[in-house]
Amino acid sequence: MNVFHFIVLNHEQVLELTLEHLWLVAISTLFAALIGIPLGIAIARRPGWNKPVLGGANIIQTIPSLALFGFLLPMPWLGERADRLAILALTLYALLPIIRNTYTGIRGVDPAVVEAGRGMGLTESQLLFQVQLPLAGSVILSGVRVAVVISVGLATIAAAIGAGGLGEFIFRGLAMVDDKVILAGAIPAAILALGADFGLGWVERRLRPQ
């Protein structure tokens, strides 16, 4: 029996774990975007803030993922459910690329265009929503894309604390010393990562200013 037979035989479970995986990645990326984009905008406007914020997000990235899951385990409410923990950890990891690209994108908008807008009497929020965010859109989205691809990989580790997802096959396969089972988790995860990368890359190109 090769890996494809295994996947076909267990297609219900593969599908369930893939959807679980997708859910973990989607929710955590959404949270990371909701926190990271406003934070990136804020540090682009207040030059003194960018070093501490980006530095903090950078430090989070250096924590080994398995250790981070472990650290979060004793937390109240969060520690009760493995998926909550996994979503928090994935959100933290996804912050850096999103904050950094939002910051870079907004700072990268041609200062002459911004000043022309300001000189014509756009308010700061009109400037942000009509000029800076649309022009930084493709750069911000490419940060989201990096975050998603990283999260798809990291989410496999979430199975170690019982949060489900395709990591379950990988850990089970490791315990059983069975390549087929490992691949039944790894292949769909790779396809998810590639699919997300391609899909978001397409949207990003559509958003890119001429």
Binding site: A116, R118, G119, G121, Q126, V131, P209
Partner: protein, 276 residues
């Protein structure tokens, strides 16, 4: 009233100042304005008045403070000392957004929004001022015609236009809400000589019809002579002198003379061309 050739004095005698304010309030007035940033004095003790309907050219080399002077008018910068008044109201006391929307602003390379079509760029201020859509459309068409562009241009994006066309759109955008004042910061500086010549002469004839109060920044003496009704010469953050074009070419002022020498022959005719 103030002879175009007179040097602007920082302090006028009380009676004279009173008489002048009764006759006409200058549209833009600098009262002993200084501006410094991070300890560097960019502008010192500038006093200058811009009259209704004139084109005042700020002439000077890079770093002489002319762009700073311009940005003080629409409060992109605020003076560190002194006062800038627009239509008789001190800038520090006016609503900055209202102030800017009532002043057209044109910069080098136009500063068009690259993600907006020509139509949306030109209609920008009317749209944020919530004009009805059909009035915006009519106004945009009218403006494109005014600056010599065809209505088909409306759907294009800035990157699909030539430099000269972009600059025309920049002028149309500044005129959109029919501001009384127009600030132009080296608007034709990045254009090739032929296109620049074309746009200068079109702007000159446009100004003959519209009579906006224009403050125009340039380092090109030829352009200054051609377009300005008065030329304010700046050097190292100070106003050197204010002269009419014909006076400028004959001036004995050392800075003005240095400028005239640098630009060489044929300046008289440039000055006369502007005056025609």
């Amino acid at each position: 009233m103030f002879g175009a050739g007179s040097r602007v004095q920082p302090a006028k005698s009380g009676m004279l100042a009173q008489m002048q304010s009764q006759v006409a309030t200058p549209v833009i007035e600098f009262r002993d304005v200084s501006y410094s940033v991070e300890g560097t004095q960019v502008l010192s003790g500038l006093s200058l008045q811009v009259e209704r309907g004139e084109t005042l050219v700020l002439l000077g080399r890079s770093g002489s403070g002319k762009t700073t002077t311009l940005k003080l008018v629409n409060r992109l910068l605020s003076p560190t000392a002194g006062e800038v008044r627009v239509r008789g109201v001190a800038n520090a006391e006016s609503d900055v957004i209202r102030l800017r929307r009532s002043i057209g602003y044109v910069i080098q390379d136009a500063g068009l929004f690259p993600h907006y079509t020509v139509e949306r760029n030109v209609g920008l201020v009317p749209r944020i001022e919530a004009w009805p859509e059909d009035r915006i459309r009519t106004r945009v068409e009218e403006l494109l015609r005014l600056v010599g562009l065809t209505p088909e241009m409306a759907a294009r994006f800035p990157h699909q236009l030539s430099g000269g066309q972009r600059q025309r759109v920049g002028v149309a955008r500044a005129l959109a809400a029919d501001p009384e004042i127009l600030l132009m910061d080296e608007p034709f500086g990045a254009l090739d000589p032929l296109t620049r010549d074309e746009l200068q002469s079109e702007f000159h004839s446009l100004q003959q019809r519209l009579h906006k109060t224009v403050v125009f920044v340039t380092h090109d003496l030829r352009e200054a002579l051609r377009l300005g009704s008065r030329i304010a010469l700046m050097e190292a953050g100070r106003l050197v002198t204010v002269l009419a074009p014909q006076e400028f070419v004959r001036s004995s002022d050392p800075w003005a003379a240095a400028y005239v020498r640098a630009f060489g022959d044929g300046l008289e005719s440039a000055a006369n061309r502007g005056a025609s």
